[in-house]
Symmetry: C2
Subunit: 382 residues, 2 copies
């Protein structure tokens, strides 16, 4: 029985993590649940799983946790001796400090909050090594790569990350100017949280996966490719030294990679996980990625390659820009405009310590707010 | 440096095996080469690789080997102490005795001659265990399955073997009656030997792969599926207990699975092996198999499931029928007619000894010849 803490338990990945736990109650004991603002759901989860430790990021609502377990900050929760596994399913910068703390304490971290490894790649790598030691990928693409390289001793010669292309794969850049949050939140294949869904529409999320894969699997940038695959059936591929390509496939459903990250290397049946149906015709397409359609993608990969605190600034600025877009205060293409401005202004440092990363995060947020405020007003469709 | 014997060195797989050896001369020493009838090519191969032992199945031509090494029967060749690896790339029953002998002597066998495991599944299994111990799959589909399960400790819950569907995927049964050898030899995706190309057109080859996979991977019949995938890019798939599907992919080229069977578990670059190109759009389709279009398929899988000497009789009868078809003496749909008659007439035994299997083979050949002779004469197109 693994002692489990779920950070971000009321988000999409957190809720599905609890779905998995519910299916195998003999495997996991929930020791802590932490959420952001959704207190109603958190209180329900607490009464169902009865964790010893609870937390809510929203101070104004924290009083509602009274009598529902000890209120313990996330970075203390993960350090408790009986905690073995931490599901880091928070969003953005929120998961950074608890993840670093958990790894420092020798815990296993299932990392869904990919911004953590974007912001602090070298630090996380130095604490956790590559995927499968202390750090378990949760995202479907790195999970696919991880599953595909099981049993392979040799190096990965090419990593092929698949991208659905998001809801605007066929839209012109001109059309993108007028995209509404409602349109951007309609992902064609995946049902995910709001931040990651917008990041998928801009392909920021795919650039994040390139950066994540670089750190998780120690593959040089030039050996990482992205290919558009609209059906999201093949979750990613790796090519080995002899040219053999291995892939992991399945209907788009996060419960599989979530469960794999929690049980690795074991596999158990789970009736909630849908199976690939080949009783009807199935078409799988690949097409090259056109980076000109996705300005965030190139900006972000470049920030990843530059290293230092650039990716931390990128991630922080993206969080601000996506928030503003979701609030209807900026347009869809203002997101890359803000990122570009923040990155151009950024004064990088080595980015190997938490302090430097947090400082880059703070500055980039301010810069992003200022950049957003200085955008010319435009009428947003909606 | 592995001591290697190539049985069937002048066939398609044998020639490509030598291509691999030529690319990594420091890895393999050719100790023996054995061929059927193509003496010109065999003599060339002998002068290039200078093996100590040589063989040719055609007695009338064997004198041409004089002065080209010791003429040694295949079953003695494989038993030599310095032989470590045997590439069994003979066709039909020819490889049965040498393969059994090699396994009895503790050699590693790379098995391209799949009829051996069709005919003698339980015997081969008892000698070699499942794939990867002493027996290395060479065929692209079992190789894909084998590559996909590397590092997976748990059971395979579903095996999905892909089938191109052959050249007549869209033909009606009526059209098939008039198919010529030339038409049947034009495989849409794979460049292979004549026997296996005809077996691919009838889907006999796919049924053989179902039987082969059953024995190589110890998967129950009901967990083996066949799906039509016309492009032959995904070479097969496995589903694990949690629903995760793993696949091995690449352009259709036998040198990859050949090399993997010879180097397992190592992977080495080989400039001859083409790489999956995703710089242009790529479509991959799956459609359910319609068994009514492929009478050989159902007949053969049924023989596999019945077990005993049924599969040996099936394989022997198929060899006779395919030969006759290639000679233009029977029609394409006469192949399943002959098989059906031979199997209906067959008196099975347990099929656990080489003697029983050889006896079933002998009888089935006679029955197949008789069945072919008694077919109504028909005018063959072509």
């Amino acid at each position: 029985m693994k002692g489990l803490v779920v950070l971000g338990s009321t988000g999409s990945i957190g809720v599905q993590t609890l779905d998995v736990v519910r299916e195998m109650p003999e495997r996991f004991q929930i020791l802590g649940l932490a959420a952001g603002r959704n207190l109603d759901l958190l209180v329900n989860q607490i009464s169902e799983f009865n964790p010893r430790m609870v937390f809510c990021a929203d101070e104004a609502k924290r009083h509602r946790l009274a009598g529902n377990g000890d209120v313990v900050p996330m970075e203390e929760m993960v350090a408790e001796p009986d905690v073995e596994l931490v599901m880091a399913s928070t969003i953005g910068t929120a998961g950074l400090v608890p993840t670093v703390k958990a790894l420092e304490c020798g815990k296993t971290v299932a990392l869904a909050n990919k911004e953590v490894i974007i912001m602090a790649g070298p630090l996380i790598r130095s604490l956790a090594g590559t995927a499968g030691r202390n750090l378990m990928p949760v995202d479907s693409e790195p999970s696919a790569i991880w599953q595909s390289i099981q049993g392979e001793g040799g190096p990965i010669s090419r990593m092929i990350i698949t991208a659905s292309g998001g809801p605007f794969r066929k839209s012109s850049l001109q059309d993108l100017e007028k995209v509404t949050p409602e349109q951007a939140l309609k992902h064609p294949t995946w049902n995910m949280g709001r931040k990651i869904t917008i990041d998928s529409a801009t392909l920021m999320n795919k650039a994040f996966e390139v950066i994540e894969a670089h750190w998780l699997f120690d593959v040089p940038w030039e050996n990482i490719e992205v290919v558009v695959h609209p059906q999201s059936i093949i979750h990613s591929m790796v090519e080995m030294a002899d040219g053999s390509v291995k892939a992991q496939m399945g209907p788009p459903d996060m419960r599989l990679p979530i469960q794999y990250s929690m049980l690795y290397p074991e596999r158990l049946p789970n009736r909630l996980i849908p199976h690939l149906d080949l009783r009807s015709p199935l078409d799988i397409n690949f097409e090259p990625l056109d980076p000109s359609r996705y300005p965030c993608f190139s900006l972000a990969v470049e920030a990843g390659r530059k290293g230092g605190t650039y990716p931390a600034a990128l991630s922080a600025a993206d969080e601000v820009a996506v928030d503003r877009f979701l609030e209807g205060r900026i347009g869809f293409l203002d997101i890359p405009r803000i990122l570009e401005e923040v990155l151009a202004k950024h004064t990088p440092t080595g980015g190997k310590s938490l302090e430097e990363i947090m400082e880059a995060d703070r500055t980039a947020r301010l810069d992003a707010e200022a950049a957003a405020d200085s955008l010319p007003n435009r009428v947003l469709a909606g």
